[in-house]
Amino acid sequence: MYSISDNPEKPLTQHIKHDGARLTLKEYESTGGYQALKKALQMNPAEITRIVLDSGLKGRGGAGFSTGKKWSTIDISENAAPIKYLVANADEMEPGSFKDRFLLEGNPHQLIEGIIIGAYAIQASFSYVFLRWAYHLAGKVLTQSIQEAYEAGYLGKNIAGSGFNLDMSLHISVGRYMCGEETALLNALEGKRANPRAKPPYPSNSGLFGKPTIVNNVETLSNVPHIINNGADWFLKLSKTGEGGTKLYGASGKVRKPGLWELPLGISLRELFEDHAGGMADGYQFRGVLPGGGSTDFLLEEHLDVPMDYASVAKAGSRLGTGTIIVLDDKTCPVGMVHNLERFFAQESCGWCTPCREGLPWTTKILNALETGTGKTEDLNVLEFHTHYMAPGNTFCALAPGAMEPLQSALKYFKTDFEMHINEHKCPWK
C-alpha cells in the first residue's frame, strides 16, 4: 500500500489484518510467532541484552532511551534480588498519539512474546501490561491472548521446557496522563496515587513493591522478537539514518489523509507529511507541526527536510516523541492550540511539585485571557518566565517541562499571533 519507502520491511505491522482484528495464537505462530522466544530461551540472558543494545533500539514511548542500556542496569548475577518485574507501558495518553493502540489490538501476541523475551533477559518472574482504560478492545484481546499464551505453555512454569518461569497480568488503569511516567505508573500498579517517585533510586534498583523493575513501551517490546529472529545488523539497516528499526508514524489535524504508517526510522518529515499524510486538506495551508505528540516543540516549513529520528529532531529543536505528528493549519489559531494543550497539562498535573501545580494553571489562565481578548503585553513576559521556571530540572518529573515545549516554541515562531490577540483585544480566528 505504501510503496514509497526504499526499504519495504515492516516487521511490526506486516501481519496485522486489514480490519485490524487480532491475530490469534495460531495465526501468530503461522507467521513465525514465538520462534524468537524459543531461540532466546536457548541463549544466555546477557546475550539477549547485548543483541538489543547492538540493535540500537530506543524507547518508543517518547524518551528514546536505549532499551539495551536500560536492561543492562538490572543485576542478573547469582546475588541478584530473586523477584524482579517487567512492565509493558500501554498507557498511551500523549495527546495526538494513537500508535500503540494499533499494535495492541492487531497483534497482541507480538507484544506478549516481546515481554517474555525481555523478562528472560532481565530474569524477571512476573510481568504486567499496564493498559489505559479507554482501550477496551485492547483489554479484551489482551485478556484472550494472555490466556492462550498460558495454555500453550509460553507463560507459567517451565516455559517451553527451559526451566524459566513467568507470570503475566493485565492491569487496566482508571485515567490520568501521569500514569505514563514510569515511576508514577509503578505507584498506580501498587494501588496508590500516581505521583512520580524521586530518582534515584531508579526502578532498576527499587521499582514495583521495592523490587528491581523495567518499564518499556508497547512498540519497544513489540520490536524485540524481530531483533532476536533477524539480528542487530538487520535491525540497524531497517532505519534510514542508522538509529535502528522502523517507527510507527502518524498524522492528525487538517491533512488530506490522516493515518498511521510503519516506515523506516529517519524518513523526512516532508515524506511523512506530503507522501503519506497527503499534504494539507483542500483549502488549508501548512503553518507548523508538533512532531511527536502534545509535549513536543513546534517545527515549521523550514524543518520539513529534517529526518524523523531522535538525534535529528532534537537538533532541530524539538523531540521525536511518539512520532505521531499534529499539524497546525492557517485556519486554526496557534494561541488557541497551545491553550488547549496547556489546559490539558494543567488538568493532568498530579499536583505533587509546586512549579507544575501552580505554573500550569497560571499559563492556562493567561492563554485563556489572550483568547478572550483581555490579554496584556506583559503577559507574554509571564509566559516566557514560565517556560524557564518549569524547565527540565526545576520540576519533579517531565510533565511540566514537556508542557512547556509547545508553549516556548509557539512564543518563538508565532509571536505575531500572540501580539495580534493583545492588540485586537480578541482572537482573530473567532
Binding site: E92, P95, A134, Y177, G191, K192, S252, P258, N340
Partner: protein
C-alpha cells in the same frame, strides 16, 4: 452489655452497600498482590462496575476490607478521573477535548450534545439516562473528533451522526 447490644443492633440495621458478591470479588483480587492495600484501585473498579459509582459508605466498607483508612481510599478514588465519586447515569458520554479533536472541531459535537441533552459537563439527564464528561485524548486522532459512550468508541463524528448514535442508548 446494654451498650454492646445497642451498637450490635445499629450495626445490623445499617444497610451495607457492598454485597457479598462484591466482597468475594474484591478478596479474590488482593490475593494477587503482596499487600492488601495494593488492591485499592481494583476494589474501587469492582464497586463502580457493580454499582455505577462509589459512594461515601462504599469507601468506608472498602477501607474495612483492605485494612486502610477511608481517607487513604478516598485519596486514591479522587485522584483517578474515571472513578466516579458522584452518581452517574446509565450511559456515560466521554467527549475527547484534546488537541487533535480540538483542531477538528470537537466543540461543535460538545455544543450539540449540551443542547440536545440539556446538560453540561458533570451533569446527568432526567431519568438517569446520560451523564456528560470530558476525557483526555482517546488515542484515535486520525479519526477525530471522537467520543466514547460507555465502552464504545464513536469516531469521524459529525453532528448529523450524533442523534442516531444517542438513540441506540436507552
Amino acid at each position: 452489655m446494654f451498650y454492646q447490644m445497642l451498637t450490635a443492633k445499629i450495626f445490623y440495621m445499617t444497610e451495607k452497600i457492598l454485597t457479598s458478591e462484591d466482597i468475594t470479588e474484591i478478596e479474590k483480587v488482593f490475593q494477587h498482590f503482596p499487600l492488601k492495600s495494593a488492591a485499592c484501585i481494583e476494589g474501587l473498579k469492582i464497586i463502580q462496575k457493580n454499582h455505577r459509582w462509589v459512594s461515601d459508605d462504599a469507601v468506608k466498607e472498602l477501607a474495612e476490607i483492605l485494612e486502610m483508612s477511608p481517607a487513604a481510599i478516598d485519596s486514591v478514588a479522587t485522584y483517578y478521573s474515571l472513578i466516579f465519586r458522584r452518581p452517574v447515569g446509565r450511559h456515560v458520554i466521554f467527549v475527547c477535548d484534546s488537541v487533535s479533536c480540538w483542531i477538528m472541531g470537537y466543540d461543535g459535537i460538545l455544543n450539540h450534545l449540551k443542547k440536545k441533552l440539556q446538560i453540561s459537563y458533570g451533569e446527568t439527564t432526567s431519568e438517569d439516562r446520560f451523564t456528560l464528561l470530558s476525557v483526555c485524548c482517546l488515542g484515535t486522532c486520525d479519526r477525530a473528533p471522537a467520543i466514547m459512550i460507555n465502552d464504545d468508541l464513536h469516531r469521524d463524528l459529525t453532528t448529523d451522526k450524533l442523534d442516531a448514535i444517542l438513540e441506540t442508548y436507552k
